[in-house]
Symmetry: C2
Subunit: 358 residues, 2 copies
């Protein structure tokens, strides 16, 4: 397993971007991991190759029929070490996603080993500023170049790396404004909502764009059956602090099982919070707000980690949460979580995985 | 509009495939239409180029976030003429699909003109055997190579052409066996079901594969809310003959508005049939069958045109339709429809569009 994988060297390394203007997913490192699948050979040709354009058939099924899933995780710089955050969880989830849209599973251990070797090669690309990280994007897509609608016989897996800035531009947490979507639906039980498939994101863009135009940062999705229960925010899961208790929608097939979500639940329990995973109706939230019991709301996802919600708009109601300020619980969970990620706080659960020097 | 578009010649033409073994979507012609979009320039660089691999960024948003829509239509050989079948309908629908997933619309007239010029160049590729055609596949996908989740700023449109065999291998219509899917859901109102997006197809594959394993040809989808009303079959819309009347599920957002569906409805009315578009519950169908009133069932789509259904399985019931034989109405509609497509029957509605010789 820890044999070194094939490494195709590039002739010239790229110039690194200005660490003050990294943004998110704008810059890519010198190398990427590449892995191919075909029906007869299975997964083969795992190698590290120069980052650059790939050739695909104009009939590639990943383009035409959307067989494509991805993951997102981060690497951080801790002194001389490069640390991954719970990478096993991402490779576990990618297999669930692959299965849902009829794609071949990967060997989680093997891919994690490949990722470590890739990140080792690119350790100089991991930014070290406050809140900065190396964003890691595994993606698997169908490459068979024929038009019959069936599970593709060929796939490509890539892992690309992007040094990324702090979500909050290095400043403190700032509350976002969320539009509760009552027209469009992201997912429904029986569909692909729990899987990180390309199509789920395409389906979400129009609502997101319309909300942005009206001054809202993100949309909060309601369930597709009753249009009543809150599910998740654009790129995050959602949490509520209700009478001191942490409440989040339970996973029942249409919600993405976020790794940040899972980690926040585990962390909050350790910190002594009561945590409830259950159905949460939007009307209940408005009522709780009116009674003064909806104390805080925040989103949780890999990109922002934790993002306080300051306003919610649903139909003709607009409610302000905690005076549009970051709440105490939100801040506390953020500080602990980022503390563990950045190595400033002890990591009793072994969430941090140090990348070996090969 | 009828200016000739740029034509990039290839050095060597390909060998044409054996017309007896065309299959579907396996072979591609010498050229394809290519069109690029960027946020500042809009759609630009419409040209005919050699068919072959394209280069994309490993971060192309079409791959990661599924912004991809497509169309399917056919060209037929009528003596010396090449004829397209209702191509205006496809370009109208592609704009509805593009809009739903936040992609820039195309100029329908301009694209139709481009398609005609492409097909003119490739007229030798249109097969002339019974039931054979040149399958035409327009596809538009996001090419921006960055990872922020937003509507892409760059897109590529391609039209590729594939000479394809008869769906029925040249023989007569043969009934299919359909599994009524009660676990997985294809689409829900508020989602993307009415749009021809890549993600809808990815979402359908697992159910299709499982049904195939158990000896069923296709799945019939139920609505995502009540899991009660029939929606569409894998790659076709569905029709029922009930007491001599033609009945098909009405379009309300989660069903693809098939062009064959629309044409069959128009044709059936001309032939004197009463046609009803309404919600059709699966339980109602079983009851009608048990009373002897469900006379025929068939699917309608571009690939098969019309495909009789001989068996339906729902939960623990298996019902046989019309003794597993092609019904009279099914056959009559098929003969008329294919007669118009192939030029053997008059075309009073102007569905046939002759490709000019440029």
């Amino acid at each position: 397993m820890s044999n070194k994988i094939e490494f195709v060297k590039r002739e010239q390394l790229k110039e690194k971007p200005d660490p003050k203007n990294l943004g998110f997913g704008q810059h890519f490192t010198d190398y990427m991991l590449s892995y191919d699948y075909d029906k007869d050979k299975g997964w083969h040709d795992l190698k590290i190759v120069p980052y650059g354009p790939i050739e695909i058939s104009p009939a590639a099924q990943g383009i035409h029929y959307g067989q494509s899933v991805f993951e997102g995780l981060k690497a951080y710089k801790h002194g001389d070490d490069i640390v991954l955050f719970r990478p096993d969880q991402n490779f576990k989830r990618i297999n669930n996603s692959l299965e849902r849209i009829n794609m071949p599973k990967i060997d989680e251990e093997e891919l994690l080993e490949g990722l470590k070797q890739l990140v080792d090669v690119e350790r100089d690309w991991v930014p070290e500023g406050e809140g900065q990280s190396l964003y890691i994007r595994p993606v698997v897509f169908a490459t068979e170049g024929t038009l019959g609608v069936h599970a593709s016989h060929n796939y490509k897996l890539l892992i690309i790396l992007s040094p990324s800035g702090s979500y909050y531009g290095g400043g403190s947490l700032s509350p976002t404004k969320i539009y509760v979507e009552d027209e469009y639906v992201r997912a429904v039980r029986g569909g692909t909502g729990f899987a990180k498939t390309a199509g789920n994101y395409a389906a979400s863009l129009l609502a997101q764009t319309q909300a942005n135009k009206e001054g809202w940062d993100q949309v909060l999705w309601l369930d597709g059956v009753e249009r009543k229960y809150v599910e998740e925010v654009g790129s995050m899961n959602i949490f509520f602090v209700i009478n001191g208790k942490l409440v989040t929608p339970k996973l029942d097939g249409s919600i993405l099982p976020g790794i940040t979500r899972k980690s926040i639940i585990e962390l909050a329990k350790k910190l002594g919070y009561e945590v409830e995973e259950r159905h949460v109706a939007i009307d209940e939230l408005i009522e709780l707000h009116d009674k003064g019991e909806l104390e805080e709301v925040f989103g949780a996802g890999t990109a922002a980690v934790i993002s306080p919600v300051g306003k919610l708009k649903y139909e003709d109601r607009e409610i302000t949460i905690n005076n549009f300020e970051t709440g105490e619980t939100t801040q506390k969970l953020y500080d602990h979580y980022v503390g563990i990620q950045s190595g400033k706080i002890e990591d009793p659960n072994g969430w941090r995985v140090v990348v070996p020097k090969y």
